[in-house]
Amino acid sequence: MLTFVNIVVAGLLTGCVYGLMALGLSVIFGVIRIINFAHGAMMVVAMYFVLVANQKFGLDPLVAMPLIAAALFLAGYALQRGVINRYIARPEHEQFLLLLAVSIILTSSTLIAFGPDARSVHVDYAYDSYEIGGVLVDKVRALAALGAISGVAALWAFFRFTRTGKSIRACADNHVGAEVVGLNVKQLYAVTFGIGATCVGASGALLLLLVDVQPYIADDYTLLAFIIVIIGGLGSMPGALLGGLLVGVSEAVSGFVIMPSLKSMFSFGLLIIVLLVRPQGLLGRHV
């Protein structure tokens, strides 16, 4: 029983980081309606930056998180403004191929720069764990989850209280209406992509605490982000977080109850069911 609780807790904590990662995708898809297949690749690049900061300057990923978030915001903004903007009205397969090409370039760049072996970050508390009422809580996981929650909170505040945030939500709700009202949609799209990239960067920094980085993990995380976003509901921020938690816990539980090697199969099965039965996801608005 205790093992089960341990696993669920670990799943919830990991789920928080997943939620932040998926949030980036949800924001981009919800507003710009573009499938960012380079999502995982962007995150891997961010992870490598944080790794280098850790190895060269001894920077803890938690400290590096806001820095990488800012850096990726600029990169995302530039990417959208420079390249992606022209593809918004284009057919899906062209968008897909464009972002696939970007993803391949990013992944192979990390491969050239760092090689194929997995690398991990070194923090002093890497092997520590808390014991709370018999439940073993991994310290690193707990801190990563805290980082993720603060990231999500900051984002929520941005969208709720700032002018730009509200304008972006307006764009998402009604593109034409937003333009009619005088909002600079092109600029807002770029900002949105930048924010999506910010989430990706921040979650990458946190994820580096939990997993080892390798060029080949990019596609797995892109897919995972999609699963979470669709289950949670597109365009819904609480949905992304809820989706993250759900996937984190269900992966853990299915692994424990059935067989861990079937974990992903379970997640994909869930995705199929959600897509067929409730495509708007748990908290999304009707498609």
Binding site: R90, L100, I104, I105, T107, L111, P116
Partner: protein
């Protein structure tokens, strides 16, 4: 439509096609096994690209999980051969049936529930991945250790049992590719082809015009799946070993779609051209990066090439090449 295209243009297209076929027919007589085995890879890609093109280029449905049908065709024909000694061409029929059924199920479920566009694409990925992991645990087909087909070394080619040299497979695949080309050409000129293009352009308008959109979309997926399974079965007997991760994997699905998109979506010859260009590019890169010894350089150049083509020639290379060769208004 035929009246609008000058007879000169049509003749030019026909001549170009005839020239291409002639070259492909005699190539193995001059080229060694290395070139032939490379061309086998090209033809695999060209044929499957054509199958995928039917679904995407004509009916407008983006499938990112086409490896599912390749894998089903390969594993079913392979496993039936290993366990029951079933001849490959018969096992292939079983594989085609399974793939066709899978296609119908996926399409019917999706379209009935109104899942289209990006969501449909993601659904196809989910089904392919689900099947991949399932096969990794399926002992009857060897699970993740792979399925090995017993190999018999013969001194001559045996097309009935699909045992022979790369040259034999080359001609089989060439025949298939040309057959797919002919089939696409045929369908385009008939009612089903027009309906598909109408659905691709504007699904709601097509529905309003009285077309049974649901039925034609499912038909496109089923046909595409069944055709793809044939290539899967051939792959099983050519490679003689199958692994779920390579057969059903997402990298295979991505490889399947890059050739037709680069070559030219919705054109007859596009997938074939795309397959040639990409395989040649890949081989050149292999030699280059082997000499330079930089791990990852080949993929980088591959990605950069894709990017350049998507940005400069989004309709694909074939339309551009057609203009160059002045085959513009031909039927290809």
């Amino acid at each position: 439509m035929n009246l609008l295209i000058s007879s000169t243009m049509q003749r030019r297209s026909a001549m170009a096609l005839a020239f291409f076929v002639a070259v492909m027919l005699v190539l193995p007589l001059f080229a060694g096994n290395y070139v032939v085995s490379m061309l086998v890879v090209v033809l695999f890609s060209a044929y499957v690209g054509q199958a995928w093109n039917l679904m995407m280029g004509y009916a407008g449905q983006l499938s990112l999980g086409h490896a599912l049908y390749v894998g089903l065709g390969a594993y079913i024909s392979g496993a039936l051969f290993v366990h029951y000694g079933l001849p490959p061409w018969i096992g292939m029929l079983a594989g085609m049936a399974a793939a066709g059924l899978a296609g119908v199920v996926i399409a019917a479920l999706s379209f009935r529930f109104g899942v289209t566009g990006v969501y449909f694409a993601l659904l196809t990925i989910a089904f392919a991945e689900f099947t991949r992991i399932a096969f990794n645990h399926f002992a009857w087909v060897g699970g993740s250790s792979g399925l090995y087909l017993p190999v018999v070394t013969l001194t001559r080619d045996d097309i009935v049992h699909l045992r022979g040299s790369p040259t034999m497979f080359y001609y089989v695949l060439l025949a298939l590719t040309l057959a797919a080309l002919a089939l696409s050409h045929l369908l385009l000129g008939r009612r089903v082809g027009f309906y598909w293009r109408a659905i691709r352009e504007d699904q709601e308008a097509a529905q309003a015009a009285g077309i049974d959109v649901f039925r034609y979309k499912v038909a496109a997926v089923a046909l595409s799946a069944t055709m793809t399974a044939i290539a899967g079965a051939l792959m099983a007997f050519y490679d003689n070993n199958l692994y779920p991760d390579t057969a059903f994997g997402i990298s295979r699905s991505i490889d399947i779609i890059t050739a037709p998109i680069i070559g030219g979506l919705g054109t007859l010859f596009g997938p074939i051209l795309g397959a040639f260009v990409l395989t040649m590019l890949s081989e050149t890169m292999t030699s280059l990066s082997a000499n330079l010894g930089v791990n990852g350089l080949k993929q980088w150049i591959y990605g950069a090439t894709l990017l350049v083509i998507v940005m400069l020639q989004p309709a694909g290379l074939w339309p551009w090449l057609k203009t160059l060769l002045r085959l513009d208004e031909g039927k290809l």
